[in-house]
């Protein structure tokens, strides 16, 4: 495999990736995230693959991550040369023949069609699929997608997560390249500070300030950690982000390491996410092969390693000091702060811990600038946040909205209310440390301060809708049981 050492070899990889994303032959992709698989995506993939082989068809077939509309899985996307990407919903294995017939006649089975994408803003780059199909709705005119702004999920469901070339084709690793060429780490930290990006794990601390602490700490080695121990029940944003676009996480971490002077990176991921673990392992391997991770990254003399550690089913390990204790080989019990990890973290060395989603925002901010980032969201909470909209709601899935969007937009516009004509009673945000927000308060904007004011929290992004059949006493009992059994014993 080619090690990328200059702009020439970088562009060669990019061209190779583009030839797969926008090939001169038809391309079919199947959403192969865990939610797709849970609904039969593997069977769909195999049926398509078999039919393509049997017919000797000149069609490119690939697996991608989840596009967010989990309630319509399995999702299949078809793109003919020069034409828009057409997304098909609730596809089953027996639909394979019909889809391939649609590929040859350029008319997709109408009952499967969900929407089309003519061009896509990958934030780090733009992909133009093609114009056409006036009869098919554009993706962001559908209720579930209307108003969504995909910055974190910019690549999820559109590129093959197991192929680094496709990530590079949509502008991936360009931000890293720029940062290494500019060689002005302090200006990157200033940029992250100016963007006012806040930690997406829930606490909402300013990421730029955290990085600044680590950069100023004098010690060898320094660690950065990605907290992928997504433990809040009802939340699965991080799982999908990693399954759908693992390289964006690596790129964020490599940039973070360079500008803070860290030489070791660790991704602490839940053992309950085996597919995310596999995809991440593959991505780490590929990044090493291509010279983007390890020694002498991009031939700029920078060394950085990432190791992955699997958790073992302890909710409390999502707390940063408990996570560190767990990495050190102890039971995952939190330790008092101060000292903060930035002063004394893993093995007593300065350590920066950020949530998965925080890392996904780094390359976009570096590429498009702090001003661009702050255009979205509210003044105190700029940017977007991914939420898992689940429970008693018609459209379940992953939703990325500007911060400050009122709760009711999530529940009624995107989620289209409770199923079966029932009435929504409340929405639970923030996991076990959060709270249930009653239906009368759904005007509340979703940002760190507003939810805290109600006595809940935004947390990592779980949003569990409850309807009139759910008993709030029972829900309270559920959370008491949960926190009791997941207590660290302190």
């Amino acid at each position: 495999m080619p090690r990328i050492q200059d702009i020439g070899s970088f562009n060669a990889v990019r061209e190779a990736g583009l030839a797969k994303l926008l090939p001169s032959i038809p391309r079919i992709t199947v959403g192969m995230g865990t939610c797709g698989r849970g609904n039969g995506a593997e069977e769909v993939y195999h049926a398509l693959n078999e039919a393509i082989q049997r017919g000797g068809l000149d069609v490119l077939l690939a697996g991608v991550g989840c596009f967010g509309a989990c309630f319509q899985e399995p999702l299949v996307a078809v793109r003919l040369p020069g034409a828009p990407l057409v997304i098909l919903k609730r596809v089953q294995a027996h639909d394979a023949a019909r889809i391939l017939e649609g590929v040859s006649t350029a008319v997709m089975p109408p009952d499967l069609i969900d929407c089309k994408i003519e061009e896509w803003d990958h934030i780090t780059g733009t992909l133009r699929y093609g114009q056409g199909y006036p009869e098919i709705a554009t993706w962001n005119t559908l209720p579930f997608f209307k108003g969504q702004k995909k910055i974190v999920l910019r690549n999820c469901g559109l590129i093959n997560p197991s192929d680094i070339e496709e990530y590079i084709a949509v502008g991936g690793y360009q931000a890293l390249y720029k940062v290494l060429i500019d060689a002005r780490p302090e200006s990157v930290i200033e940029q992250i500070k100016a963007s006012r990006l806040r930690g997406r794990g829930g606490a909402g601390f300013l990421t730029g300030n955290k990085w600044d602490f680590l950069a100023k700490a004098k010690a060898e080695p320094k660690y950065i950690i990605c907290n992928a121990d997504e433990g809040d029940p009802g939340a699965y944003m991080n799982r999908n982000e990693i399954e759908g676009d693992p390289h964006a996480l690596l790129e964020g971490m490599i940039i973070g390491a360079y500008v803070t002077g860290a030489s070791e990176g660790i991704i602490y991921v839940r053992a309950e996410y085996p597919l995310a673990v596999r995809r991440l392992n593959r991505a780490i391997e590929q990044a090493r092969e291509y010279g983007l991770l390890g020694t002498n990254i991009l031939d700029r003399g920078f060394n950085f390693n990432i190791e992955m550690v699997q958790g073992a089913g302890a909710f409390v390990c999502g707390e940063e000091t408990a996570l560190i204790a767990s990495l050190e080989g102890f039971a995952g019990r939190p330790r008092p702060r101060p000292p903060y990890p930035a002063q004394k973290g893993l093995y007593g060395k300065p350590t920066d811990i950020n949530n998965v989603e925080t890392w996904y925002n780094i390359a976009p901010i570096v590429t498009r600038g702090a001003g661009w980032f702050a255009e979205t969201g509210s003044v105190k909470s700029p940017g977007t946040k991914v939420f898992s909209l689940v429970g008693k709601v018609t459209n379940t899935g992953l939703v990325e909205m500007p911060l400050g969007t009122p709760l009711k937009s999530f529940i009624y516009d995107i989620g289209e209310g409770a199923p079966n004509g029932r009435h929504v009673k409340a929405v639970q945000t923030g996991g076990p440390s959060g709270g249930c927000i009653p239906v009368e308060m759904l005007d509340t904007p979703v940002d760190y301060e507003s939810l805290a004011q109600l006595g809940s929290i935004m947390g990592s992004g779980g949003m569990v809708v409850m309807d009139e059949d759910n008993c709030m006493v029972d829900v309270a009992r559920y959370f008491v049981e949960f926190t009791h059994s997941e207590s660290c014993g302190k």
Binding site: C70, E328, G391
Partner: protein, 183 residues
């Protein structure tokens, strides 16, 4: 969760298991999270997917850590079991989305069907974190805090395969086919 006591698992480690532990300890030595990785590898390699007391003692010896520390970690994390698992492992998700869609009833019904309903009274208070194995060792029922499969709630994992939108009937059918099937 039932805990194995020091005298329930006195089986001596065989050479294969000892070699396996040696390799795991060597592979992860000095790396962050090494103890978790070793325990995960050893449990996964065990035929009955558990950590025997002998294995824990041997890990302590090979890593040079006090046995108490190894035992502390092995009993802290939900993923580790100190008792042999059944041939079939059924894991019911107890995440919030699954709860709102009836996973507690699924769990109760499953335990009832498999004759695991006579849980000891004090275990009821920990209904959300359990691992029970049938007397014939054919089935283990356990709970998981959340699989992160919330859009497909309620979900149940049967032998590492996720079933989505599960109801009592579909789960019963799945269990029946396992009962009639191999083993």
């Amino acid at each position: 969760m039932p805990r194995a006591t020091l005298n329930t698992a006195q089986a001596v480690l065989d050479d294969r298991e000892r070699l396996m532990i040696d390799q795991a300890v060597a592979r992860y030595a000095g790396r962050p999270g090494s103890l978790l990785a070793v325990l995960e590898a050893v449990q996964e390699a065990n035929t009955h997917k558990y950590l025997s007391m002998e294995a824990l003692r041997y890990i302590a010896r090979e890593t040079g850590e006090p046995p108490a520390r190894i035992y502390s970690a092995a009993t802290f994390y939900a993923l580790f079991g100190l008792d042999p698992q059944g041939d079939n492992v059924v894991a019911v998700c107890r995440g919030t989305a699954c709860h709102t869609r009836g996973s507690r009833d699924l769990l109760d019904k499953l335990c009832l069907d498999l004759g695991l309903s006579d849980r000891e009274p004090d275990e009821n208070s920990e209904a959300d974190k359990l691992a029970l194995t049938t007397a014939d060792r054919r089935f283990t029922v356990r709970t998981v805090a959340c699989f992160g499969q919330c859009a497909l709630a309620p979900v149940v994992e049967v032998n590492h395969h996720i079933l989505s939108h599960v109801n009592e009937r579909s789960l019963q059918r799945e269990i029946q086919s396992l009962e009639q099937g191999r083993k």
